[in-house]
Structure formats: structure tokens, C-alpha cells
């Protein structure tokens, strides 16, 4: 394991299209050529603007929302909110503009994990979960054990259910089921995704496996629920990052006591973390619920 070499590449990519996706979000599609490998759901890229258009220093980690192949190239989709200097500048790039990418980075969702997969999304965290739903549906079609995609999508209110129509459309195409909830009750039942999960679970063939992306408060709630109920759960975490590749050591997350005890400094890759901290970029961004210390994650 420690001998495994990274597969990410440094590459240029071209903006194919970019448009509004509702609720102040943008949908971006980039075309990138081999040897850039196709990302898996939960993996991310480091995106950097061309110098002339770049008001910030560091590249921005962006979770991949879709992957399609077109004429030997890859077409990667991203859902983001232009809220900072960097993302606002990114929002200004039109078709044909060039950006720089590092990727694919990190470890994605273990979609092969045994159990009926339940995908949970909070707000714009829906992006990688729709990508996960795509992949699960493809596997179902290719004759593996049927894995009906079930997506639970929650947000503060209807407006924050980013790209809800797109989610409906994609889940319908994939033969999956979409359940929504909002904290203010403006769409679906009132409550959070964990409450929705408790409501939906009885109708699902168990045992279950959870895959989730959203704000850390939501992920903590999902993780604690999963630990309490003995259901495996995998959570896509966020952190400030500089390099995104394990070199700068800038994105530690606290390990659980159990994970610290199990940590083996001989076999663990040095680009991963250490006994105390897991690096979000290389070991994650997707972590098993039992591997992190949820009390000390902000």
C-alpha cells in the first residue's frame, strides 16, 4: 500500500459551458484530455484560473459533479456558488477559456460497499451525490446486483435545494428515487436529512450503507446516527487546502480514538496523515464515520 504512486496529473482544461443553476449557483463544464484520469464520485480537482483572470493565490478544491466522455476527452461537471473572490472570477469565464487542473485527487465514495446504498445530500452537496447516483445506475444496468439509487436531499428551504429539477430529472432517468425535506417545510416534510432518513428507512431493503455530502453539521448528524444504529456511513468532508496532494500537510482532521489505536505508521502511506490527524486531501475527502472524532470537527 505504501508503494502506491499517485495517479493525479497537472493539466490544462477548457471551459465548455457555464450557466446559472438556480439559487445563486453555477454549473460549469470543463473538457480535459488524457492522461487525466476519470474522477470517481467524491473525488475532487484543484482548479486554478489563468493568471490574467486570477484574483487569488491558491487553487480551489472542487468536487466533481459529473463525468462524461466525448471524443477521447473527459467532460467534467461542477456545481459551485460564486461567493469568494476566486469563485466569482471563475463565474466570469466563458466557453473556450482555459483553466488549470490537478486531479483526480483524494478518495471517493466506496460505492461497491455491501448494502443498499442511500445517498444523502445537503444543499449544494447534492453535486457529488448525483454523480454517485449516475455511477450506481450504470452498475445496475451493467448487470451487477441491482442497486436502486435512493437520494435524500435536504436544505434550509426550497430555494437552497440547489438544482432540484436537475436532480428529479437525473434520478428519474436512472430509475432511482428522490426524497426531499426542508428545515422550514417549504418543500417536502419539515426537518433535516437524518429525520428524513428515519422516515424513509423502513421502506428500504436492508442492510443499508450511507454516502453523504453537505455541511459539516449535517455530516456530523449523519455520522452519529450511523454509529448509533450500526449502519456503515461515508462522509465527504471539507477543509482549507493549499496543495491538495498531501504535500503541504495543511488539511488535518482529527482521528477517532479507534482509528488512532488502529493506525500503523509502517504501512500507512506517508502522504496520508499520522496517528493523530488524517489528511482530508489524500485520505479523504470521503471518510468512514467511525474514523473521525466528530466532537472535534468544526
Amino acid at each position: 500500500m505504501s508503494a502506491a504512486r499517485p495517479v493525479w496529473r497537472q493539466s490544462r482544461a477548457r471551459v465548455v459551458r457555464q450557466d446559472d443553476h438556480g439559487a445563486g449557483h453555477r454549473w460549469l463544464e470543463l473538457e480535459v484530455k488524457p492522461p487525466f484520469a476519470p474522477p470517481r464520485p467524491g473525488q475532487f480537482v484543484q482548479l486554478r484560473l489563468p493568471s490574467v483572470a486570477n484574483p487569488v493565490l491558491l487553487p480551489r478544491p472542487m468536487s466533481v459533479a459529473s463525468v462524461a466522455r466525448s471524443r477521447g476527452a473527459l467532460r467534467l461537471g461542477f456545481l459551485y456558488a460564486p461567493i469568494g473572490l476566486g469563485t466569482r472570477a471563475l463565474a466570469g469565464l466563458g466557453a473556450g477559456s482555459e483553466v488549470e487542473l490537478l486531479g483526480p485527487l483524494g478518495r471517493g465514495f466506496p460505492l461497491d460497499h455491501s448494502g443498499t446504498p442511500v445517498l444523502l445530500a445537503g444543499g449544494r452537496g447534492v453535486a457529488p451525490m448525483l454523480f454517485a447516483a449516475d455511477v450506481l445506475a450504470r452498475r445496475t444496468r451493467s448487470g451487477r446486483a441491482p442497486r436502486p439509487a435512493v437520494l435524500l436531499f435536504g436544505a434550509r428551504g426550497r430555494a437552497q435545494l440547489v438544482g432540484l429539477e436537475d436532480a428529479h430529472r437525473r434520478l428519474a432517468t436512472l430509475g432511482g428515487r428522490l426524497h426531499v425535506c426542508t428545515e422550514d417545510g417549504s418543500a417536502g416534510p419539515r426537518g433535516n436529512v437524518v429525520q428524513l432518513l428515519e422516515r424513509v428507512t423502513p421502506g428500504l431493503a436492508g442492510p443499508l450503507v450511507l454516502h453523504a455530502c453537505g455541511p459539516h453539521t449535517m455530516l456530523r448528524a449523519v455520522a452519529l446516527w450511523s454509529l448509533e444504529h450500526g449502519v456503515p456511513a461515508f462522509l465527504a468532508m471539507e477543509s482549507m487546502m493549499a496543495c491538495g496532494t498531501g504535500v503541504c500537510r495543511g488539511c488535518p482532521l482529527p482521528r477517532s480514538a479507534r482509528a488512532r489505536a488502529a493506525y500503523d505508521p509502517v504501512s500507512a502511506p506517508s502522504l496520508h496523515g499520522n496517528r493523530e490527524w488524517a489528511m482530508c486531501c489524500t485520505e479523504g475527502p470521503v471518510f468512514a464515520a467511525e474514523d473521525l472524532d466528530w466532537e472535534h470537527i468544526s
Binding site: 487553487p59 504535500v247 495543511g250 505508521p265 499520522n274 493523530e276
Partner: protein, 333 residues
């Protein structure tokens, strides 16, 4: 320069080789410690043999797990880090990293960190005769540790005595990396020279802060961090100039170097070589691009060897009318 007709120098003919004491570098561009792993992590995207050298992440006797988050904050034109010397420790470095470095064929400078002179002595005693290592950079300037950091080492007598104890332990280059947050970096550099250092790196990051106004606390896990990136270039360039005027041993310039023009500035004010750090986080091949850019820039100026450029602005105080070329005093040949 000075209106003289330029010689025409083909890009491929530009000689970039420099020396830092016994350390021969094929070109003057090194990676900065902490920004290039232990030398092999970027090897699948960067031809590390084409770099002047690779300075590893700082190694300490025991593994260190580093500081709590947040460890990285972006600021205007720069980034603060508070990593806290996280590293795999000497034993794992020897067992796992050294064999890979041997296989890589890169010029490897190992950064060593210690809380006391005795710790550095022990590290160098164990690594000093290792043939895969071309030199050692002594990290006298980490801003992010409670013990053995920049403050502890900012004492000329301590530096001189430590270097004198370390000198007999290796024939490879010994380079002292200094903090800019001192009263006189020139005094510290002179102390290192007196103690037997082959070169001085000027400089490490600047101590900086950033406040989260919502939660009213530092945006880093500790109160302060080290600032790097383009924001510090003018500051670090002045430190480099100060050090170059203070010592006769070669100086390695570091601080906010993003492209070949930045590197040319450092070399002009007296650096024999440069280190590229934060730029690598933006583009893993940043240092390699700077090698290419440097060769082209020198050729375009009709300069056949980087050693002709080295220190052209070092000899005198840099004021009005002082841009005349002066002979380099540095032992870079």
C-alpha cells in the same frame, strides 16, 4: 545592459551551474523545504533530476504530528501556514524515503530540525555520511513550534557554536536557513559563516496573523503562522540582499518567487541560488518552469552564465545610480 550591444547567446548554451560550498547544482533553482515532500511525492509529474535540487520537508529525530487545524489561511497575495513541523521522523525517513531518493537521482538536500544543538548533532551524526544526500539545510527558523523554533535560534553565539559542533560530522554542504523576524539577519548569517556553514538561506516565512471576525479568534489553530507567497517577496528580497552583503559564503534566496523574473531579482541582489515554495502549491512544476524561464531570460540578455549575473546588485547600497555591474564576491564557481 548599459546600452552595450548584446552578445547573442543561444538558450541551450546558457550555463546555469552554481556551487554552494561542496554542493554542485546543475542550476540555481531548488524547492523550498515543506513544499515538495521528501523529494519523491511530485516525481510522477516533475522531472526532479532537472531541478537544481530538492530540499526535503524538515526531519526531526521523532515523528511529529503537527499543529491542530486550521493550518492554512489564504491572505492577500500570500498564505499563512501553521503546520508545526509535521514529519515522519528520522527512522521512517531512513527506512522508506532514502532508498527512493537514491533511485530518483535528484540532488537532495535534507532539511533537519532540532529543539537543541544536541538533537541536530544526533541527526547529522546518523545522516551525515549518507551518500544519497548532497547537503543539509538546518532549519533554524520554523515560526510554528513552541520549542526550537525561530526565536530559540535567533542568537548569534548559539548558531555559531552549533555550526561548529555540526561541521565535523559531514563533508556535505551545511546550509543554515534563517528567520527574517530578527533584529539583524546579517549578524545571524555572519555567525553561521563563522561556525563553518557553507551557505545561508534567506529566508523562512514571516510571522503573520489573520482573525476570524465571526468567531472572534485566530483563523489558524495557533495564534500566528508563517506568511509566504508573492506578498513577502519585497521583504524577503531585502533580507537576502542584507545577508549577501554580510557574508562571503553563498546565499540562497527564498520568499515569494513565482517566476523567472523573481528569481533573477534574487540572483541580482546576491543570491547564488533560489528556492521555490508556495508557487509549487499552485503548479507542481513551478520550479521547473523557473529553470526554463531563467535560461531564456539570461540568453535574451546576452549572458552566457548565471554566475555573471549573480550579485550584480550586491556590492553597494542600492540607491540612485548604483546599478553599475560589480564583480561578484561570492564563491559560486
Amino acid at each position: 545592459m548599459n546600452g552595450r550591444a548584446r552578445r547573442s547567446v543561444p538558450v541551450g548554451a546558457v550555463d546555469l551551474a552554481v556551487r554552494i560550498g561542496p554542493l554542485r547544482l546543475r542550476n540555481p533553482v531548488l524547492t523550498a523545504s515543506g513544499t515538495f515532500g521528501y523529494g519523491d511525492e511530485y516525481a510522477h509529474v516533475v522531472d526532479v533530476k532537472a531541478l537544481g535540487g530538492v530540499v526535503t520537508k524538515t526531519i526531526t529525530l521523532e515523528p511529529r504530528s503537527g499543529n491542530p487545524p486550521g493550518r492554512i489561511v489564504e491572505t492577500v497575495g500570500g498564505m499563512l501556514n501553521s503546520i508545526g513541523l509535521e514529519n515522519v521522523g528520522l527512522e521512517r525517513f531512513r527506512r522508506e524515503k532514502l532508498p527512493r531518493l537514491r533511485a530518483l537521482g535528484a540532488t537532495v538536500v535534507v532539511s533537519l530540525g532540532g529543539e537543541t544543538p544536541a538533537e541536530l548533532e544526533r541527526l547529522l551524526g546518523l545522516l551525515g555520511r549518507e551518500r544519497a544526500i548532497a547537503g543539509f539545510e538546518l532549519n533554524f527558523s520554523c515560526p510554528n513550534v513552541a520549542k526550537g523554533g525561530a526565536r530559540y535560534w535567533a542568537v548569534p553565539r548559539r548558531l555559531e557554536r552549533t555550526l561548529a559542533r555540526l561541521r565535523p560530522l559531514t563533508k556535505q554542504a551545511l546550509i543554515a536557513k534563517l528567520s527574517p523576524d530578527v533584529t539583524s539577519i546579517g549578524d545571524l548569517a555572519r555567525a553561521c559563516e563563522q561556525g563553518g556553514a557553507d551557505g545561508v538561506t534567506a529566508c523562512n516565512t514571516f510571522v503573520g496573523m489573520a482573525v476570524d471576525l465571526t468567531r472572534l479568534r485566530s483563523r489558524l489553530g495557533r495564534a500566528t503562522g508563517g506568511l509566504s507567497g508573492p506578498a513577502i517577496k519585497p521583504l524577503a528580497l531585502a533580507r537576502c540582499h542584507e545577508v549577501a552583503r554580510a557574508v562571503r559564503i553563498p546565499v540562497i534566496g527564498s520568499g515569494g518567487i513565482m517566476d523567472a523574473r523573481d528569481a533573477l531579482e534574487y540572483l541580482a541582489v546576491g543570491a547564488s541560488a533560489v528556492q521555490v515554495g508556495t508557487a509549487t502549491f499552485l503548479q507542481p512544476d513551478a520550479a521547473l518552469r523557473i529553470v526554463t524561464g531563467l535560461r531564456a531570460a539570461l540568453a535574451a540578455r546576452g549572458i552566457g552564465s548565471v554566475r555573471e549575473w549573480n550579485g550584480v546588485l550586491c556590492g553597494e547600497p542600492l540607491g540612485e545610480g548604483s546599478a553599475a555591474k560589480v564583480p561578484s564576491r561570492r564563491r559560486t564557481r
